[in-house]
């Protein structure tokens, strides 16, 4: 299974009404076909009433294994059903990164 598939599977725990998992690694300082940088767009009922920090922490916790094994960056746009207007912001361009 690819990381993308594992992320999609793991995020089903949020019972998302909308889920986009976009691999944006190609825009960064990593080899071709990497799975290091992702953008997530998630609409879920459980985000209602949670602060932005708590929403992000919830998703980070679900993806801890991936973060521990090479997932480097997650852009996250997390909405309750009421907030969702059908689109999300673009991620910023890379500037070289850690070069580790």
């Amino acid at each position: 299974m690819t990381r993308q598939q594992r992320i999609e599977q793991q995020l089903q725990q949020l019972s998302p009404l909308h889920l986009d998992v976009l691999n944006e690694s190609h825009g960064h300082n990593v080899p071709p076909n990497s799975e290091t940088h992702f953008k997530l767009v998630i609409v879920a009922r459980e985000f209602s009433g949670l602060s932005p920090v708590k929403r992000h922490q919830r998703v980070y916790a679900l993806l801890q294994n991936e973060l521990d094994s090479g997932l480097h960056a997650l852009a996250m746009h997390l909405y309750s059903p009421d907030e969702w207007q059908g689109n999300s912001p673009d991620s910023p361009a890379c500037m070289g990164g850690s070069k580790k």
Partner: protein, 107 residues
């Protein structure tokens, strides 16, 4: 000698606005860090920053301290405000300036 966790606690408590980022506001090394520092600079308040690429101990320990695994991280008055996505969103909603104004030292 202070542990890294103690150093982090001291930085966060002594600096009302502090950004942990990759590179510096003038020479950011990551698009997420660049965008976040631009939003903060646009608000016009002085802020502290730590380059986590130059401080590997802090880079490895801060994620545990704040339960937040990535950078940048903006901390205001001892509280984690968020990373790039949250800071940009607050800035676009015109809420970031008020959050920073409350914390900013008189200039």
């Amino acid at each position: 000698m202070a542990t890294t966790q103690e150093v982090i606690a001291q930085q966060i408590n002594e600096n009302p606005i502090i950004l942990y980022m990759k590179g510096s506001p003038n020479q950011p090394q990551c698009g997420f860090s660049a965008k976040t520092s631009q939003c903060i600079m646009a608000c016009g308040f002085r802020f502290a920053f730590v380059d986590v690429l130059a401080n590997p101990d802090i880079r490895s320990e801060l994620p545990k301290y704040g339960n937040w695994p990535t950078f940048p991280q903006l901390w205001v008055k001892g509280e984690l405000i968020g990373g790039c996505d949250i800071v940009v969103d607050l800035h676009e909603k015109d809420e970031l300036k008020a959050i920073l104004a409350e914390a900013a030292p008189a200039s």
